[in-house]
Each structure stands twice: as structure tokens, then as C-alpha cells.
């Protein structure tokens, strides 16, 4: 099997697909927390009660034909396969840990995932490429309606949808975008931008790492508040902030080319060189260099590699994916070598 086949087989839609502003916004995500009224939350439910939750959710899904989802019982999956789902952002790291009666419903192209018995009974997630929060909301809202017609969700007139954690109560909505901001970082503006964002009741975190340090310059921005605002207010706020960040990142890229052209070109081409010839590489170094290469592609400095390389490789070079592609367990040291190999094959494609 060629690497292209392997990539196509393993990649999930938010990685392989395209969307608006995809050069900077890698993905948009909508997540809804929902619970059944008469069953204790997963942190307090018995195994039987959790099994009953899975059963009724699966049944509700099977009673409609509009959205096709298949169920995976996580207990049936080996650890590496569960981790693959985490690396694709389809389930949370906590959900992948061993535990009772945990499951996930997925559609064929993996844009929809419904975690069952995570912190809440249901976590409906829609994850699609580019800046498409409205579309993601439309899909999630529709699925929520289909489920609500058949399941008794816990809802209060005062507090809205009741969740296990008080930070999710109300709309139960967490909307987020994943953005790649290398130029804002290189021009030392990232702190300012992210500081401003957190004033607007949004949370920012580096996807790999903590605070404003992020390997690969990849950040996730999401709403912090779920109660008191409408869903469309929450989504519009995130959308308008993201649009502004995108335009600031584009400006910073222009500025870089005007003022530090030689330094930037050198940095990008060196990164490309290391990725093409390294014999082994850690995921942190790889992400850092891939971020530079992606910037080079977006700025027209590197022309023989396509745009999707960062999204694809940021998932494929992670431990579970490397082991899945290789078909066996690998030590960290072995993975560093396999990672370098995989990156080279992909860059030469």
C-alpha cells in the first residue's frame, strides 16, 4: 500500500478536507453536552445504568434514517485504536482511558461523533475543516433535535440543559476553532492577540503545550460561557473574533515578508531541509518545523508541497497513528525514526 493510500485510509475529514480560510483555520468544532433526565450522571451511575444509557441512545439513532451513525464500544478496541480516535480529536483523552460502558457513535467521514458516558451521558460533536462554525452548528443542532424527539433530555426552564459540570450548563455548547498562527508568533504579537481574546470571554490554549507557548503555533479558541447567551450569540462572537485573528495573521505575514524577508525565507527553508533529511525526530520538533514549512507554503516560498501537509502530518506523526501505520507497538525511540521516515515520504509525494 502506498503512503497516499494509507493516508487516505487513516485520515479523518477535518484533516483531509477543505474549508473556508483553511490556510489559517484548520478546523471548526461544535460540541453539545446532553444528559438523560432520570439517570445519574456517569460519575455516579452504576454499570447497569450506563449500559442502559448506551442502549437507549443507540436505539434512538436507529429509529431515524436521516443521519447514519455506527456505534463503537470502546471496551472492544485495543488501546492503540482508542488513542487513534483521540489523535483524530474524535474522543477526549479521558474517554479513551479504560472504564465501564463507554462508547462513541461515528458517521462514515467522521465529521460527527457522539461520545456516550463521558462526563455527560452524551457529548455530540461536529468537527469540520476551515472556518465553518455555522455549518457545524447546523449539523449538531439537527442531530440534537433528532435525539431529543426520542430521548428525555434533562432540561430546566431556569438553567437550560443540565450538565454534570456547572461550566457546561445552559446551552451545553462549546464552539471552538483550531488556528495556525506562526506569523503572529514570529512578530511577537501572539501574547497581545491572545490576551485580547481572553477578555472577550473566550478561552485560548496551545494545542500542544500550555499557555501562549504552543509547539506548531496551533491554538484552540473556544467560548468559556455556556449560560445566559443564545447559541447564535456564542457562535457569532467566536466567528467574528476568529475572522479578526485571521486578518491579523495575514497582515503579520505580509509584514514579515516586507521587513524580514531573508530571515523568514532562511528559517522556512532550513526547517524544510531538516524535515527532508533528519534520521529521527521528536513530535515537538517536527511540529515546530512543519509549522514553518506550512507558513512557507502559504506564503509561496515553498512551492512543491501542498497546503494540507500540516494538518495531515500533525495527526499522522503522533504515537498511536505511527504504531497503527507500522502495524506494531513501537518504543519512543523507534517512533522518532519512523516519524522522520513518514515525514520524508509525505514531503516527497
Amino acid at each position: 500500500m502506498s503512503l497516499r493510500d494509507i493516508i487516505n485510509k487513516n485520515l479523518t475529514h477535518w484533516v483531509s478536507g477543505n474549508g473556508p480560510d483553511n490556510d489559517i483555520v484548520l478546523s471548526s468544532r461544535i460540541r453539545l453536552a446532553r444528559n438523560l433526565e432520570n439517570v445519574p450522571y456517569p460519575n455516579r451511575a452504576s454499570a447497569e445504568e450506563k449500559a442502559a444509557v448506551s442502549k437507549s441512545v443507540i436505539e434512538a439513532i436507529s429509529q431515524q434514517n436521516e443521519i447514519k451513525l455506527h456505534y463503537i464500544d470502546l471496551a472492544d478496541l485495543p488501546e492503540v485504536e482508542r488513542e487513534v480516535l483521540v489523535e483524530k480529536h474524535l474522543i477526549s483523552p479521558i474517554h479513551a482511558k479504560e472504564g465501564m460502558e463507554k462508547g462513541v457513535l461515528l458517521n462514515d467521514n467522521e465529521t460527527i461523533s457522539v461520545m456516550i458516558n463521558e462526563e455527560d451521558h452524551l457529548r455530540i460533536q461536529v468537527l469540520i475543516p476551515g472556518l465553518q462554525l455555522d455549518k457545524a452548528w447546523e449539523i449538531a443542532n439537527n442531530l440534537d433535535n433528532l435525539l431529543e424527539a426520542r430521548l428525555d433530555f434533562a432540561f430546566s426552564e431556569n438553567w437550560g440543559y443540565l450538565s454534570a459540570c456547572p461550566t457546561n450548563v445552559g446551552t451545553g455548547l462549546r464552539a471552538s476553532v483550531m488556528v495556525h498562527l506562526p506569523a503572529l508568533n514570529l512578530t511577537n504579537n501572539i501574547g497581545k492577540v491572545l490576551g485580547a481574546v481572553s477578555q472577550l470571554r473566550l478561552a485560548v490554549r496551545g494545542l500542544y503545550g500550555e499557555g501562549s507557548e504552543s509547539a506548531g503555533n496551533i491554538y484552540q479558541i473556544s467560548n468559556q460561557i455556556t449560560l445566559g447567551h443564545t447559541e447564535s450569540d456564542i457562535i457569532d462572537n467566536l466567528k467574528s473574533v476568529t475572522t479578526q485573528i485571521v486578518s491579523q495573521e495575514r497582515q503579520a505575514r505580509k509584514l514579515l515578508l516586507q521587513e524580514q524577508e531573508i530571515e523568514v525565507k532562511d528559517r522556512i527553508k532550513r526547517s524544510y531541509g531538516i524535515l527532508k533529511y533528519a534520521y529521527r525526530i521528536s513530535s515537538e520538533e517536527a511540529l515546530k518545523l512543519l509549522s514553518n514549512v506550512k507558513l512557507g507554503i502559504d506564503m509561496g516560498i515553498i512551492e512543491d508541497v501542498d497546503q494540507g501537509v500540516l494538518s495531515e502530518l500533525m495527526v499522522l506523526i503522533r504515537p498511536a497513528h505511527l504504531q497503527k501505520i507500522d502495524g506494531k507497538e513501537l518504543t519512543a525511540a523507534e517512533r522518532d525514526i519512523k516519524r522522520a521516515e513518514l515525514i520524508q515520504t509525505r514531503l516527497n509525494m
Binding site: E37, Y41, F155, W159, G170, I225, T226
Partner: protein, 169 residues
């Protein structure tokens, strides 16, 4: 490769430390990594929301009278004290049980204490109707200002119908 610390288990954690420009590499197993506190693992993160929430709420425990600290959900058995320690409700009925404690907490988290978003069709109770009445009242106001009395009368009847519906339940 075996763990360089205990020499027993498979090394699954590759640790690279750079201190003052000096790089050290370590291959250790997950247990040793946890034990030496090298990596923050999920579940015991001191800055997790649950731990922060417990920190916010615990001072309030001091002001509790005996009765309040005994506050317990009838359905799932979760006590208010447990809730403040875990930061998670035990079931949907805990919200009603801890009702008078919730507003300050929700205000602190969300800056608001009332839901304004989506109302489910089947389970939304009277909220859907109430919202509809609210919207019709605003429309009525606008039509009256425009002196569009025919339409205003229609709206008034519609509002009365909906109010009857609410009263009848």
C-alpha cells in the same frame, strides 16, 4: 527498550530536558514518569476545573450551619459537600436540591444565572410558549406604534390564546 530508572518495564516515555543549554535524554516507563512527577498526567492536574471549583467553594463550607452541610440529593445521594469537592453534579435533580446555592456559583462562572438559548421541543415545558408570548408582545408594541391596529388586535388575541394555554396547564 527497558525503563532507565526501574529497569523493569518497557520505556514508553521519552523525556528530553534542556537546562541551561545542556540536553539530557531519558527513556522511562509511565509509572516512573508519574512517580518522579516529570509529566502532568490527566486526572491529577492541580489546576483542573474541579480542583479550582473546590477551592472557590470550600471557604463557603465554613459558614455552613449543620443543616446545610447535610444537604443531600434524594435521587442520587450526592451531598452538597461532595459536590463542592468534585465539582460535578450527581444527577439532574441535584440542581433542584442545591437550588439556593447555585445562583452565586453560576454567576461567578457564567456571569449569568438564566438560560437564554435553545429550548427543546418536547421537554421545553412552558418555556417555549413563554418565549413566544414575549416575542408577540414586542411585535404588538411595534404595530401599535405604527398605528397598525388591525394587526395589533390579531396579535393581542394570539397572546390571549397562548396565555390561556399556559394558565390551563
Amino acid at each position: 527498550m527497558l525503563c532507565q530508572r526501574c529497569g523493569k518495564k518497557e520505556a514508553t516515555v521519552h523525556l528530553t530536558k534542556i537546562v541551561n543549554g545542556e540536553k539530557t535524554e531519558l527513556f522511562i516507563c509511565e509509572d516512573c514518569a508519574k512517580e518522579t512527577g516529570q509529566i502532568p498526567f490527566n486526572g491529577n492536574d492541580p489546576f483542573s476545573f474541579q480542583n479550582l471549583l473546590a477551592g472557590i467553594l470550600n471557604p463557603e463550607l465554613n459558614s455552613f450551619s449543620g443543616i446545610e452541610s447535610e444537604l443531600k440529593c434524594n435521587r442520587c445521594g450526592m451531598s452538597y459537600k461532595e459536590f463542592t469537592q468534585q465539582g460535578l453534579f450527581g444527577c439532574a435533580y441535584c440542581y433542584d436540591t442545591f437550588d439556593n446555592k447555585l445562583d452565586p456559583l453560576l454567576k461567578r462562572i457564567h456571569g449569568s444565572t438564566r438560560h437564554n438559548g435553545k429550548v427543546p421541543k418536547r421537554r421545553g415545558g412552558t418555556l417555549r410558549v413563554k418565549r413566544e408570548i414575549e416575542e408577540l408582545r414586542q411585535e404588538l408594541q411595534r404595530e401599535v406604534e405604527r398605528e397598525n391596529f388591525e394587526r395589533a388586535a390579531e396579535l393581542r388575541d394570539k397572546i390571549h390564546d397562548l396565555e390561556d394555554k399556559l394558565g390551563g396547564e
